[in-house]
C-alpha cells in the first residue's frame, strides 16, 4: 500500500496546528493498522535482481515490488520519488538491495514485516562540509577547475581559480571522485561525521601511461558541464603544441586559433572577440590588467608560456566578478612555483631564449618561480655595418612569483611581471661634411614597458566561506627620446626632446565565495581601481619650444558584484549583478564647446577647472549577467546567456595596427562609457565515448558609445582629443561551431565562425558623420573564419603539429576618383571600408622530437622545428594606392609573405 498524495501544501497551510496534530495521529494509527494487516501475510519471494542507472526512485520501487512481496510506504512530501538513483544487484536479498540503493541517498528505510518504510535521513542527520584543495602531485601547483564528484548522488564541486573547493553533505559514507584533465583520477572513501579537509594531489598522466592517456579524457574540451557559454580554456601544453612563429609559443596566436576571435592582420597587436575592438578585452595576468599585450609592435605576445599555468577566455558568458571591458576577459594565471623540488625548463631558439626556475624555499611551504625571456637578434648588430652596430632592438620579460602556504587556512602569493621593448637607433653618416666636420649623430631611443605587481591573500573563514583579497599595481608606459632633427616627433626640431606617457592602475579586490550547499555557490566582492593616465609629457631642450605637459587624467572605479550559481538535476544557472561607478576626477581642465557647431578647437568657448579630487564626471551603471544551462542528458546541454558590460577606458587609435604609443583615455565629460549587450546561446554535445566534443554557439551583440574617429583625425599629441572623436553605435552577430577530437593519436579541433560586425557614427551634426551616418563594416569584420588545429603522435618520440586558417579579407577603403588642387592630382575615396582585401589563408607545420637521454637523468630535451606559412602565402595585410604620372598603382602588402623555418631546443630538468 502506498500513500502517494498525503497532503498538499495549500491544504496544509489552511490547517491549524491542532488539525495537523490530529492528522499525524490519524496517520500513525492508519499506518499501525496497515502493519497489523500485512503482518498476517507471509513472504513469498525476497531476492532482487536489478541493473538500473540514473532511474527514478518510483520506478525502482515498482521493480522491487514486482520482484518481491515487499511494499513501500513513504510520504511524498518527505521523499522525492523522482530522485535519480543507481542500483546493480544480482539475486540479492532485500536488505542488501536496500543498503546499496540508499547508500549516499539521504533516505533511511525500516523493514517491518513485508513493508519498507522510507523516511528522510536529512531530518535526522547533521550536515558536514568537505573542503580542501587539489594540487599537482609532481609540482604542488594548484589545479584550477578540477572536479570533485560524490559518487552515486550526482553531486559535486569544482575548484575555484585558487584551487579551493567546498561541498556540504549529510552525514554518511561516500566515495569522492577527484579528476582533472590530463591527470589520473583518484577515488577517496569518505566517512563524513564531522567537517573534513581533504587536500588532494593528482598525478599527471605521463608518457609512461601512453596507453592510458590515449584512452582518457586528457584533452577534453567538453562544454557540457560548464554553465557559461563561450568559455575557452587553454593549457600551456596545448599552446606549446601549436606550430609557432619563429619557434616561440605565443598565447595571442593560440587565442587566434579559436572560433570568434580575429585580428586586423598578421602580426598586429591584440585580438578582436566577437566584433569588439582590441581595447575591449580585459587581459589579466595574475589578476593585474595589461594595457599592451605585445612585443615588437604586435609580432609576439608579452606572455612567456613557460611561466603560465593556464588561461581562460570568456567571450560569451562573463561572470559578474569581471568588468571594465566590453567584449571579453582573458584571465591568465601564472604558475605558483614547484613546492616539492627544484625544477627548471627553457628553450634555446635562433632569436629568443627563455629560462624558468622554480622550487621550494621551504618544502611545501614556500616556493618561488622566476621566468625570463629575451630576444637577442640585436647581439648580432656589432657584427654589421657601422650604420647599425650601435643600434639596439630587443625585448625581454621577467615573471616572478612567491607562494607561501602559511597554514591550512591562509595562503599568500606575491607575483610580478616586467617586460619591455627597447629600440635604440643611431644614425651617423660616416662621411664628413663639406667643411670636414663629422655630421651630427642622430639618435632615437624608443621603449615601452609593462609592469605589474600582485599580492594575493587566500583565507578560509570557515568550511563554507572562502576569501581572496588582491592588491594590484599595473603600469604601462612608453618613452621616446630624440637627439636629432628627424626624431619622429610632432615637428622637425634640432632640439632634443623626451616624450613620456603612461597608464597606471592601483586595484584593491576582495572576493568572497560562499558554498551554501552542494548545489548553490555565491560569490560577492568589490573591484576598486584608481587610474592615472598621463597622455603626454614632453621635455624639449631647444629654445623656442615649450615643454608640454597635458593634464594627467585621474579616475576611480568601484564595482561591487554578486554571483549566484545554482544547480538542479538538469537545470543550472549563474546569475550575477555588477554595479559599476566610475568617476573622472580632478584636478584638470575641461574645455567647453559651442553647442551649435561640431566640436573642434575653433568652437571652444571656455573651460571649467576642477580641483584635485573633485568629480568632473561620474557614471553609474548596473550590469546584469545571466547564464543558464539545461542538460538534455549527461552528454548534451543547451545554454542561454545575457550579458551587459560597461567599459570606462578607451584606446584612442585609428591606425590599421595599434601602436605602442596610442593613448588610453578614461570616460569623462565627452567620452561616454561603452555599453555592450550580448545575447548568446549554445549547444554542447559529447559523443557517448566522449572522444569528440562539439560546441555550437550563436550570439548577437550591440555596442553603444564606441569611440570612433573623425575624417582625418589627428591623434598625435592632441590636447583636446575629444575634437577628433565621434560617438558610434554598432552591432555584431555570428555563429560558431567547433569540433574537438581528444583521443587517439590524432587530436585537435576544427572550428568555423560566421560573423558580421558593423558600426555607424552618431554625431548630432550630420556633416561630420562617417559614410553619411550609414553603417559600415568594422576594420576586423571577417565573415568567414575557419581554423584547423591538429596534433598527431607519430610515435613515442615524434609529434607533428599542423595549423591551417582561412579567413575573409578585412574591409578596406580605396581610391575611386581624382581631382586637381594647386596643380597636383589628388585622390577621392570610396565610403569607409566598402571594399575588401583578398582572403587570407595560411598553413603552419611543426615537428617535435623528444630526445631519449640517460633515463636516470632529470634532463629532458626536445627539438621543435617546422615552417610557418609553409606554402608561402602572401596574405594581404593592407592595400595602398599611389598616383603618379596620372597612373593609379595599387599594391598589397604582406607582413610575412614567405615560408619562415624555425628551430628551438627545449629542455626540462
Amino acid at each position: 500500500m502506498k500513500i502517494k498524495q498525503f497532503a498538499t501544501a495549500v491544504w496544509l497551510k489552511k490547517c491549524s496546528k491542532k488539525n495537523i496534530l490530529l492528522m499525524k495521529l490519524s496517520l500513525s494509527l492508519f499506518l499501525l493498522g496497515c502493519f497489523q494487516l500485512v503482518a498476517l501475510t507471509g513472504f513469498s519471494q525476497n531476492k532482487v535482481t536489478l541493473e538500473l542507472k540514473n532511474t527514478a526512485l518510483a520506478a525502482i520501487i515498482q521493480q522491487i515490488e514486482n520482484q518481491t512481496s515487499y511494499q513501500f510506504i513513504y510520504n511524498n512530501d518527505e521523499i522525492d520519488s523522482n530522485e535519480k538513483l543507481n542500483i546493480t544487484v544480482f539475486n540479492e536479498d532485500i536488505k542488501n538491495t536496500l543498503n546499496k540503493l540508499f547508500l549516499n541517498s539521504g533516505i533511511l528505510y525500516i523493514l517491518k514485516k513485508n513493508h519498507i518504510i522510507l523516511s528522510n535521513k536529512e531530518e535526522k542527520q547533521q550536515k558536514f562540509t568537505l573542503r580542501g584543495s587539489i594540487k599537482d602531485a609532481a609540482t604542488g601547483e594548484t589545479l584550477l577547475g578540477a572536479n570533485i564528484i560524490i559518487q552515486n548522488i550526482n553531486k559535486g564541486a569544482v575548484t575555484n581559480e585558487y584551487g579551493f573547493y567546498s561541498i556540504t553533505l549529510t552525514e554518511g559514507n561516500y566515495i569522492v571522485h577527484y579528476s582533472y584533465i590530463g591527470y589520473a583520477s583518484k577515488e577517496v572513501p569518505l566517512e563524513l561525521k564531522e567537517n573534513k579537509t581533504f587536500n588532494i594531489e593528482l598525478t599527471p598522466s605521463t608518457n609512461k601511461l601512453d596507453e592510458v592517456v590515449l584512452t582518457s579524457d586528457t584533452r577534453s574540451k567538453s562544454q557540457v558541464a560548464t554553465i557559461l557559454s563561450g568559455v575557452i580554456t587553454l593549457k600551456t601544453k596545448e599552446i606549446k603544441q601549436l606550430p609557432s612563429f619563429l619557434g616561440e609559443p605565443d598565447i595571442t596566436r593560440a587565442i587566434l586559433t579559436q572560433p570568434g576571435v580575429t585580428s586586423t592582420g598578421e602580426g598586429t597587436s591584440g585580438f578582436n572577440v566577437r566584433g569588439g575592438n582590441i581595447d575591449q578585452n580585459l587581459v589579466l595576468l595574475d589578476e593585474a590588467p595589461l594595457y599592451n599585450s605585445s612585443h615588437l609592435w604586435g609580432l609576439f605576445s608579452v606572455f612567456n608560456a613557460d611561466a603560465i599555468k593556464d588561461l581562460k577566455l570568456y567571450k560569451g558568458g562573463i561572470p559578474a566578478r569581471y568588468g571594465g571591458k566590453g567584449s571579453s576577459v582573458l584571465d591568465i594565471r601564472q604558475k605558483e612555483g614547484n613546492s616539492k623540488e627544484f625544477k627548471g625548463e627553457g628553450g634555446l631558439g635562433l632569436l629568443f631564449s627563455r629560462l624558468t626556475l622554480e622550487g621550494p624555499l621551504k618544502k611545501e611551504k614556500l616556493s618561488f618561480l622566476m621566468s625570463g625571456r629575451r630576444s637577442y637578434f640585436d647581439l648580432f648588430f656589432p657584427l654589421g655595418s657601422a650604420e647599425i652596430k650601435d643600434n639596439k632592438l630587443y625585448f625581454y620579460d621577467l615573471n616572478t612569483k612567491l607562494s607561501w602556504d602559511i597554514n591550512e587556512n591562509n595562503k599568500l602569493y606575491a607575483s610580478g611581471y616586467f617586460g619591455a621593448d627597447v629600440m635604440k637607433l643611431s644614425f651617423k653618416d660616416e662621411e664628413l661634411d663639406e667643411n670636414g666636420n663629422p655630421p651630427p649623430e642622430e639618435i632615437i631611443d624608443f621603449r615601452w614597458n609593462n609592469a605589474t605587481a600582485t599580492v594575493r591573500w587566500n583565507h578560509i573563514f570557515s568550511n563554507k566561506l572562502f576569501m581572496n583579497v588582491s592588491a594590484i599595481y599595473s603600469l604601462y608606459n612608453y618613452a621616446l627620446n630624440s637627439k636629432n632633427d628627424t626624431g619622429g616627433g610632432p615637428v622637425n626640431t634640432s632640439g632634443s626632446f623626451n616624450w613620456k606617457s603612461s597608464v597606471e592602475n592601483w586595484i584593491f579586490k576582495p572576493d568572497f565565495t560562499f558554498y551554501a550547499d552542494p548545489s548553490t555557490k555565491m560569490r560577492f566582492g568589490l573591484n576598486a581601481t584608481l587610474f592615472k593616465f598621463t597622455p603626454a609629457k614632453i621635455v624639449t631642450a631647444g629654445e623656442g619650444f615649450n615643454n608640454v605637459n597635458f593634464d594627467p587624467e585621474n579616475a576611480i572605479e568601484a564595482a561591487p558584484y554578486i554571483e549566484i550559481e545554482k544547480k538542479w538535476d538538469r537545470f543550472s544557472f549563474n546569475a550575477g549583478l555588477r554595479y559599476s561607478w566610475f568617476a573622472n576626477i580632478g584636478e584638470g581642465n575641461v574645455a567647453l564647446y559651442s553647442a551649435d557647431f561640431p566640436r573642434t578647437v575653433s568652437t571652444i568657448t571656455g573651460s571649467n577647472s576642477y580641483k584635485k579630487g573633485e568629480i568632473i564626471k561620474s557614471y553609474s551603471r548596473f550590469e546584469p549577467r545571466f547564464s543558464m544551462k539545461y542538460d538534455l542528458n549527461d552528454r548534451k546541454a543547451f545554454k542561454l546567456g545575457y550579458n551587459r558590460m560597461f567599459q570606462y577606458v578607451h584606446l584612442i587609435s585609428n591606425t590599421s595596427a595599434a601602436l605602442p604609443f596610442d593613448v588610453w583615455k578614461p570616460s569623462g565629460t565627452y567620452v561616454k562609457p561603452l555599453e555592450v549587450n550580448q545575447i548568446s546561446m549554445g549547444y554542447a554535445y559529447d559523443t557517448p565515448d566522449k572522444a569528440y566534443n562539439l560546441s555550437l554557439e550563436a550570439y548577437y551583440k550591440t555596442f553603444d558609445n564606441i569611440v570612433e574617429y573623425k575624417n582625418g583625425a589627428d591623434l598625435f599629441v592632441t590636447e583636446n582629443i575629444e575634437t577628433q572623436l565621434l560617438n558610434a553605435k554598432g552591432y555584431a552577430y555570428g555563429a560558431e561551431i567547433a569540433l574537438y577530437k581528444n583521443r587517439g593519436k590524432l587530436t585537435g579541433n576544427i572550428n568555423y565562425t560566421y560573423s558580421v560586425s558593423e558600426r555607424k557614427t552618431q554625431s548630432a551634426f550630420a556633416s561630420e558623420n562617417i559614410n553619411n551616418g550609414n553603417y559600415y563594416p568594422s576594420n576586423f569584420d571577417r565573415p568567414h573564419l575557419l581554423n584547423l588545429v591538429t596534433n598527431y603522435k607519430l610515435g613515442k618520440k615524434w609529434e607533428l603539429g599542423l595549423f591551417f586558417t582561412y579567413q575573409t579579407g578585412r574591409p578596406a577603403t580605396k581610391p575611386t576618383g581624382r581631382l586637381i588642387f594647386d596643380g597636383n592630382p589628388y585622390l577621392t575615396y570610396s565610403t569607409r571600408n566598402s571594399y575588401r582585401l583578398s582572403d587570407v589563408h595560411r598553413m603552419d607545420l611543426s615537428f617535435t622530437y623528444k630526445l631519449t637521454g640517460n633515463p636516470d637523468s632529470k634532463w629532458q630535451g626536445s627539438w621543435n622545428f617546422g615552417v610557418y606559412n609553409i606554402y608561402g602565402r602572401k596574405n594581404a595585410f593592407s592595400q595602398f594606392s599611389t598616383f603618379e604620372n596620372n597612373v593609379l598603382k595599387t599594391a598589397q602588402f604582406s607582413v610575412i609573405g614567405a615560408p619562415i623555418p624555425f628551430i628551438t631546443y627545449n629542455f626540462k630538468f
Binding site: S656, G712, D714, R818, L819, F821, T828, T890, F893, I900
Partner: protein, 267 residues
C-alpha cells in the same frame, strides 16, 4: 636579424583593383587680408583612369562677410568665369576680425556653403636664420589663441629659384612662445623667402588631409618608411569647411580665410 627576416619575407606586390567611381564636387578658394581679387575654383571629380578634368562653369557664387557686430552682407556676387575659376570682378577688402564665407549653387540647385571663418591677425616673421644644418623661421605665437600655421619656404641662389616647401603645424609645442620657431633642413642658397599663414581650424584640417595624402600617395614618400601603411589611419577625404547644404554632408574642398605675412632675408 628579425627585421632582416621580416624585410626579406614581407612583400609588396601590385594588384588589379576594381573601381566604383561616383563624381563629387570639389570647391576651393582663398581670402587673405588686404585688398585682392578673390578666386574660387569649382570642379567635378573624375575617375582615376580619366585624364581630362571636369571644371564646372555654370554655378553661381556669392561671397559673404560679417563684421564683429554681427551684421552680415554680400561682399561680392559678381564673378568672371574661366575654366572652372570664378574671380571677383572687383577687388575685395578683407579686414582682420571680420568673418567670410562663400555660397555656391550648382545648376541643378545643389547648394554648398563654407563655414563662417574669422580672419585672424597677422603673425609677422620676426627673423629667418640659417646655419649649416637648418633654416629657421622665428615668430611670436599668441598665447590666448590656438593657432594653426601654413608656412612657405622658398630658397634662391643669385635670385634664381632653387627649391621651395610648404609646412604645416599647430602651436602645441610653442603656444605663447615669443620666439616660437619652425625649422627645416638647410637646402642651400643665399636668400630665403618665408611666409606664415595664420589658418582657421577647418582650413588646417583640409591641409592636414591633403598633406598626408600627398606624402603617402602622391609623392609616395611613405613607401620607404611604412611600406604597407601599417600604421596609417584610414585615408582621409579632402574635407575642409565646405558643406553640401542640400544633403547636409561634408563636401570636398575649403574656402580658406587667413592672414598672410612674409619676409625675405639674404645671407
Amino acid at each position: 636579424m628579425l627585421c632582416t627576416i621580416l624585410v626579406l619575407n614581407s612583400c609588396t606586390k601590385s594588384i588589379p583593383v576594381e573601381n566604383n567611381f561616383e563624381p563629387q564636387i570639389f570647391i576651393h578658394g582663398i581670402l587673405v587680408d588686404g585688398i585682392n581679387k578673390i578666386t574660387v575654383k569649382i570642379q567635378q571629380t573624375v575617375a582615376v583612369t580619366e585624364l581630362e578634368l571636369n571644371p564646372i562653369n555654370d554655378a553661381s557664387v556669392t561671397l559673404y562677410t560679417k563684421d564683429p557686430s554681427g551684421i552680415e552682407s554680400i561682399l561680392s556676387n559678381s564673378f568672371t568665369i574661366n575654366n572652372g575659376e570664378y574671380t571677383t570682378t572687383e577687388t575685395v577688402t578683407a579686414i582682420i576680425g571680420h568673418s567670410y564665407w562663400i555660397e555656391v549653387v550648382l545648376k541643378d540647385g545643389t547648394e554648398f556653403r563654407s563655414d563662417q571663418e574669422i580672419l585672424k591677425p597677422n603673425i609677422p616673421v620676426k627673423k629667418i636664420t640659417m646655419d649649416s644644418n637648418f633654416t629657421r623661421i622665428i615668430f611670436n605665437d599668441p598665447e590666448q589663441d590656438i593657432n594653426f600655421y601654413l608656412l612657405h619656404y622658398a630658397f634662391y641662389e643669385n635670385d634664381n629659384f632653387i627649391y621651395d616647401t610648404w609646412e604645416l603645424t599647430n602651436d602645441v609645442l610653442f603656444n605663447g612662445n615669443v620666439n616660437a620657431y619652425y625649422e627645416i633642413a638647410d637646402v642651400g642658397g643665399d636668400s630665403v623667402f618665408a611666409s606664415i599663414q595664420n589658418l582657421n581650424f577647418n582650413t588646417y584640417q583640409f591641409y592636414l588631409n591633403s598633406f598626408a595624402q600627398y606624402e603617402n600617395q602622391i609623392g609616395n614618400s611613405a613607401e620607404d618608411t611604412d611600406p604597407g601603411q601599417l600604421f596609417l589611419p584610414p585615408p582621409a577625404h579632402l574635407h575642409g569647411n565646405i558643406r553640401n547644404i542640400t544633403k547636409d554632408t561634408k563636401a570636398l574642398g575649403f574656402f580658406g580665410v587667413f592672414s598672410y605675412e612674409f619676409k625675405i632675408t639674404k645671407f
